[in-house]
Symmetry: C2
Subunit: 405 residues, 2 copies
């Protein structure tokens, strides 16, 4: 994973990030453009309250094609009704008009405060005044990455280069996460662009699976925002033979890189969870299915009792087992081994459900580090999964309670 290259290093993509004044001090408008129409796929929030721009994007992307992405920060355009929906359409229309493409090729997204009237005029003018600046200069990529942030403390970017057959392909991504001081803005956005040639239906399948193994495996505070979207554009300019089926040579390489990119961005989002003091990686191995493994991870990483124990550096295996038992999947603690520690040293604290003797002080020392690992071996199958989460701290509660509407 390189952080020296970005979107501007992927063939055919230009971008920009501008300050248009919706937010007071930071860049707040990102535009990404592909020379050629691209295969496109997206995954949207599961929240029944969907932000207005996502309703527009969902329709636009239904045919698997897109050529531009426009995103504003500072106003979520959620719970804004008709006025907001019209604003989202205006964002797409203006972007399309200025770029000389069809409106249906524009992906729109927003992040920021929920329920504020949408400043359509400011944003439409902002697009008009800045869209000419899109370029392939490296700083343009960095500006775009910064322009989608809200309370994030750093921009989240990644770049990968890989071979598909004899062709060199590129992939870049940007994301924003959940600055938890202002959780009304805790939207997760991720935009990934690549020059791989791939059929839209196959891309859609790849995106869905990769999201399940990355963005869907992170937990910060459990609520899914109204604005979450992960979108991928693949414009084919690497000139590989178009990937059409799962069995096509090169598809597994593409998918592996897509998963790597998404997991990279997802982990950056967790790392930037304000109000958390620890980054926790969860592994569940020997599960009956990947889905079951994922559910166990979500139950454990989402448990407030587990999260407070991690904050307290407490090797409290009872809470982990209890949370796993609440995952809604078959779970036999009498088969289960549990390991706690960090990336380099894991201590087995439970073997087939029985507590083992271990050096409490040594383990507490391991748990003092900022990156923690928790591994459950279910001894009940061949599937596995990995996920990431945070602890629950007094700071989290303070930040989220003193923030006032």
């Amino acid at each position: 994973m390189s952080i020296l290259k970005n979107i501007t290093n992927v063939r055919g993509f230009k971008c920009w990030g501008a300050h248009i004044g919706v937010k007071s001090m930071r860049r707040d408008l990102a535009i990404i453009f592909s020379e050629k129409p691209a295969s496109a796929a997206a995954v949207f929030t599961q929240n029944k309250v969907m932000a207005e721009p996502l309703k527009v994007t969902k329709k636009h992307i239904a045919n698997g094609k897109a050529q531009a992405i426009v995103v504003n920060a500072g106003n979520a355009n959620a719970c804004t009704g008709k006025q907001g929906l019209e604003g989202a359409h205006a964002m797409a229309q203006t972007t399309a008009d200025e770029l000389g493409i069809e409106k249906e090729l524009v992906i729109v997204a927003s992040t920021g405060l929920i329920g504020e009237p949408f400043p359509t005029e400011d944003i439409v003018n902002g697009i008009r005044n800045n869209i000419k600046k899109i370029s392939t200069r490296s700083k343009a990529g960095s500006f775009a990455a910064n322009a989608i942030l809200t309370t994030d403390t750093f921009a989240k970017e990644g770049f990968l280069e890989f071979k598909i057959g004899s062709k060199t392909a590129n992939m870049a991504g940007i994301a924003k996460g959940s600055g938890m001081i202002h959780p009304n803005m805790a939207t997760m956005l991720a935009f990934i662009v690549t020059d791989v040639a791939i059929d839209p239906r196959l891309l859609r399948k790849a995106v869905k699976e990769a999201v399940n193994r990355s963005f869907n495996m992170i937990t910060v505070d459990g609520d899914t925002s109204t604005n979450d979207i992960v979108a991928v554009l693949a414009n084919g300019m690497a000139e590989n033979k178009e990937l059409k089926t799962k069995n096509d040579k090169g598809y597994s390489v593409f998918k592996e890189n897509l998963e790597t990119m998404m997991a990279h961005l997802a982990k950056l989002i967790v790392s930037d969870g304000e109000g958390s003091s620890k980054f926790v990686e969860y592994n569940v191995v020997h599960a009956p299915s990947e889905k079951a493994a994922r559910q166990v991870i979500r139950a454990v990483s989402g448990s407030t009792l587990v999260k407070t124990a991690i904050f307290g550096r407490d090797p409290n295996w009872g809470r982990i087992i209890c949370a796993a038992g609440n995952a809604g999947v078959p779970f036999d603690y009498e088969k289960t081994d549990l390991y706690l520690g960090n990336e380099s040293r894991l201590v087995k604290v439970l073997e087939k459900g029985k507590p083992l003797e271990f050096d409490h002080n040594y383990l507490k020392k391991l748990l003092r580090e900022s990156h923690i690992n928790i591994k459950l071996d279910l001894h009940n199958g061949r599937a596995s999964s990995t996920g990431w989460g945070t602890d629950l701290t007094t700071d989290y509660v303070l930040f989220n309670s003193v923030y006032s509407t």
Copy 2:
């Protein structure tokens, strides 16, 4: 609801609560006995890791009959394997032998630390030494209520008298909740006895429905313990004509009182949530179904963002709407009205999804009280539901992180 009478005022029931030394200072063994075998029904934890005594009870109660309840506090007998299972059987056997009844008529439950070896000998001796003390003296009921507590700060009791036809019937209940300082002990136990005559199958149906409207509608920290059980015994000594079907005269009165009793105990459990500073009542009205209303309440009352906002006295409607959107049921915020306040004064902050002007300072003053009310009107049907929860405080995190295994 009377708190002056208790189990000992229900015809045919005797009880006792003893100190047998599993816990250092408090009573830790409760025994309840009915002169006559009773119709019996129970609802058990949904956690896949079920404590050993519940496995025994589940078998014993399968035929719908029981005559005694024996409960120890201080050791959960969970994650204890074969040794624990044998201990639970020994508890039932000893109780049966001493009372001269069949072992299969004994309900067994435990609460306390998970994963500690079960002190079978101490408990068996404790039962033998104390079972003769069961009586109908009022203090015996109070002792039983106290003997099932762990970190609870007060005993949870209730008593109801009502008419079934020309007969006067009685019902009494005791419960323990989630002292959140030691969440490995955060078991929810409730035992209700009545002298109503009712067929076991009908009782089972009534118990299940009443639990769904009471104990299943409270949220403290989301994890379901390994030891949760709600059990009801009905010994028929009120001599009403046995209730056999839903349409029998008297059944609706019985069910209403059962729900009242369970809601009363459930609310006491929430009130005693240590580390919380507020008691919150949620109402969802005009929902498409009661189940949907319940799911919305669970999603909102379980949201850490909503709970921290309540701690901060923050009328943050965006978090409530966002959490409701995550409930997994159809939800249209553009139809929804939202009210915040307390029992006596509710302020409408959202009408058909649109924020209303309201006096922020006045509302913050209302939210400063210890009992808060939140009401969502979905304008989308005729069903409704009520639930209860707490806020999420810095104290909660501190208590749960400094407690060390």
